[in-house]
Symmetry: C3
Subunit: 347 residues, 3 copies
């Protein structure tokens, strides 16, 4: 995708200072600008980069009063940050709309319905009895099992695997290598020490506007559904076990894991590499620090928690400070004991 | 798959109270029952749900003496829990037997032998010289390198990748995106600070009844074999390094990792996000708490251990309780010092 | 691949003692030697295995003075360790050169250039406008998006997914299921509690001699590039977030994660399951112990650090020793307080 400065200025209703026929094909930070890129300057702190940037064009404020010569072409707008955000949105729309059509060979099952403007990449597999909405993009090598439902405008990147009976909402994004609906980890111990598989008969339900990172895994429920509510954003390499429910607009950073049947509230913020045990509840708006281990329910909305096992965020910081000084603490205790050793025992 | 209440009652040798022609197509918990599902009631604690459940049918005890009106159809049996387990087993068998045949396009190498009743999904790739047993199910987009052996009744889900020379037993399950036999992480430091790759020439051997979770990785041995013994169950996103051996019937929860050449005993239970260093031995029946870090061998059978670095489970709990109170401990020490500061030094 | 003892002795310029026509097809450790394998004996500590090994042939020193009868065939060389390394190198070359040609069906985009001796496996997908060097091996089911560049001698194993605009150097290895260039985890909070996706417009640049483990994920930059410098070795299941830079010859063990915009120096050694927060710098030659959490920049070259949160490696060990004894420490404090309770308050 390549655009002229003139085309971009037209989109942003900006005024061009410089060469309007120059072409740009990517976005850059002003301090890292390269020829062929367009950048923006909003925060005055970064103004010095305006005079040195290699970016072909820079979006900046119409209020700008340059202090030095400027080599780059300018697009002057009222609010450069908003203008750049608008540009990002347009970029996003272009990205998402550019793919359509059915590449061959691909595999489409029986009784599967598809909406308009489908992209189905080569080597993608769609099982029997699926319902696929409008404007859905299914990249190459994606696997979709039987009876899967996929809402409008959802994008599934290369090689993601969706097991049978999964329900996916509208405007969802699933990144490469993610696995949705694999069997929950359920085994019944037998008298001889072996384990018998407990069939996992449920599914995964993912509501609208959910984003799933690369190589993240969401297991299906033993019975019923593992549920990912509207607007949830999961980063890469996350583990979500069977029968978990994650509340609306909760975000979770990479490599965290949630054990079976736990219910996480709305608008929680969960750091990376966090582990959460099974069968507990996490209140709305809980913040969990990276690498924490959550072993019991969190009942109060807005709790901030840290540590493994986790407790109050600030208390944990205080304890960690003293943890570092434990050798000193022990030495002080040794010295005190030495001092009081001759005191008579209390009677 | 859809069955009538009559068909299910026949299978379970149960007596129907209600409408025998109703159809069910999934299993549910009684408290979450939806129309079209069949549930069970075994524990009397859940009896109140019997009068409110939306499940189409409920399997329960022939001893039941209802206290209120019941809307759902009942299947009365001697032991409802056992009957439901039987139903789950039948569900499992149906699930596993329903796929067969070879979908096209798929890729079958030269000199590869396959057994009866194979399912080979579209876009699956089987290399040269493989031996594949009876009733094996290979889902779409699976990769199987050269000279791989796969035992009878094994299921490999979509997109799993099996490197050359891997040996897989009977009745194994490998979930989507799992990687078996990738190169061990072996690099020899060079004088200039770079690293030279140490060729990984071995393989992975997986015995019977092993289950491997989605996106889990098992590296091949440098020389010889990485070995996963009979009945081992590995959850999702686990890392097993080169030359590791995992003993019979050991289970490991998601996101745990085992470093190179470590030998884990039989019937161990290893929590999620555990890390185990290389070149150690873990005794049989060891229990390791979630997020623990195991830095040295565990020699005593039946050890329970927790923490990073880990030590005795109960001792760790005690230390963690005091860790939370470290600021108080420090304050008490400050006050004591204040009190004894005027004592004469011992002479 | 099968060779006679004579062929191997020729390669190593060694002298054969025993049967020169025997065939071997794999390498083994001397203590685990199996018929058909070739092993080596360098460290005298292992000499007893020479008299019991089942290996078909053993490479050992021409200085060897056997103390017992030897059943296996010997290849005598000046330096057995160096000879075995040479054998490993030859093994490696054979492995890497054995695949070539284009299997069908595979998908090759428009305007994509490829070099000589390409291997393109069945069901592999190469998008439009890619540039692929000489002697590149692309295994089955690999996905390569648009405008990707791949340098000479690079190997991409089955099912790895490379997003559009990624740049990969020469002599790189990418293992099965790895995802390179997925969207960074960037979402802007909205007044209603939902999140808006921040388009990730950058790419990933991977220099020469980089190795990426199975199911590892490297996100593209928001703008600009996520950069993996020459000679970096990443193990399996690692998370590298957007705009991260990893310095030359740094190695990172499995399941570690690096958050956005962090810059890691050269020749660092990072253990398994480590977490590193975003927007910090890690000095060259830093060593980070397994399961550590790094929350702030490390400025001194050669720092060794451990813990979550991490501090000096040796100090951390000392604190951990006392952590285990906290119940005893508390008891000593209780007893001291008891003793001094009757002292008059200082005035």
């Amino acid at each position: 995708m390549e655009f002229t400065v003139e085309q971009i200025a037209g989109l942003l209703q900006g005024k061009i200072v410089g060469e309007r026929s120059l072409k740009v094909n990517k976005l850059s930070k002003i301090e890292e600008g390269t020829p062929g890129s367009i950048s923006f300057l909003s925060n005055p702190k970064y103004e010095p980069y305006l005079y040195t940037t290699k970016a072909t064009a820079v979006i900046t404020s119409e209020q700008l009063a340059p202090k030095k010569d400027i080599d780059t072409t300018l697009i002057l707008v009222k609010d450069p940050y908003t203008a750049f955000t608008l540009l990002l949105d347009e970029y996003n729309k272009l990205q998402q709309s550019q793919k359509s059509g059915i590449e061959q060979p691909s595999f489409m099952g029986n009784r599967t319905q598809t909406g308009n403007n489908l992209y189905l990449g080569a080597f993608a597999y769609v099982g029997n009895g699926c319902k696929i909405g409008e404007n859905v993009k299914i990249y190459p090598q994606v696997y979709i099992g039987e009876n899967v439902q996929i809402g409008d405008h959802t994008i599934i990147y290369a090689g993601a695997k969706i097991y049978a009976n999964t329900v996916i909402g509208k405007h969802c994004t699933i990144h490469a290598g993610a696995v949705i609906g694999s069997d929950g980890f359920g085994f019944a111990p037998q008298p001889d020490g072996s384990y018998k598989t407990i069939p996992q008969t449920g599914n995964v339900i993912m509501e609208d506007w959910v984003s799933i990172g690369a190589n993240t895994v969401i297991d299906c429920a033993t019975m019923g559904s593992t549920i990912i509510r509207q607007g949830v954003k999961l980063d890469n390499l996350i583990q979500i076990a069977h029968n978990v429910e994650i509340g609306k607009n909760t975000v979770m950073a990479a490599q965290s894991g949630v054990s079976g049947s736990t219910k996480i509230g709305e608008n929680c913020i969960i750091g990376g590499q966090v582990g959460i045990v099974g069968h507990i509840k996490i209140a709305d708006k809980t913040s969990i620090g990276a690498q924490s281990g959550i072993g019991k329910s969190i009942t109060k909305t807005g709790t901030a928690i840290q540590g493994s096992p986790a407790f109050d965020y600030k208390e944990n910081l205080k304890s960690m400070v003293i943890f570092r000084k434990l050798p000193l603490l022990q030495k002080r205790l040794d010295e005190l004991e030495e001092k009081v050793v001759n005191l008579p025992d209390k009677k």
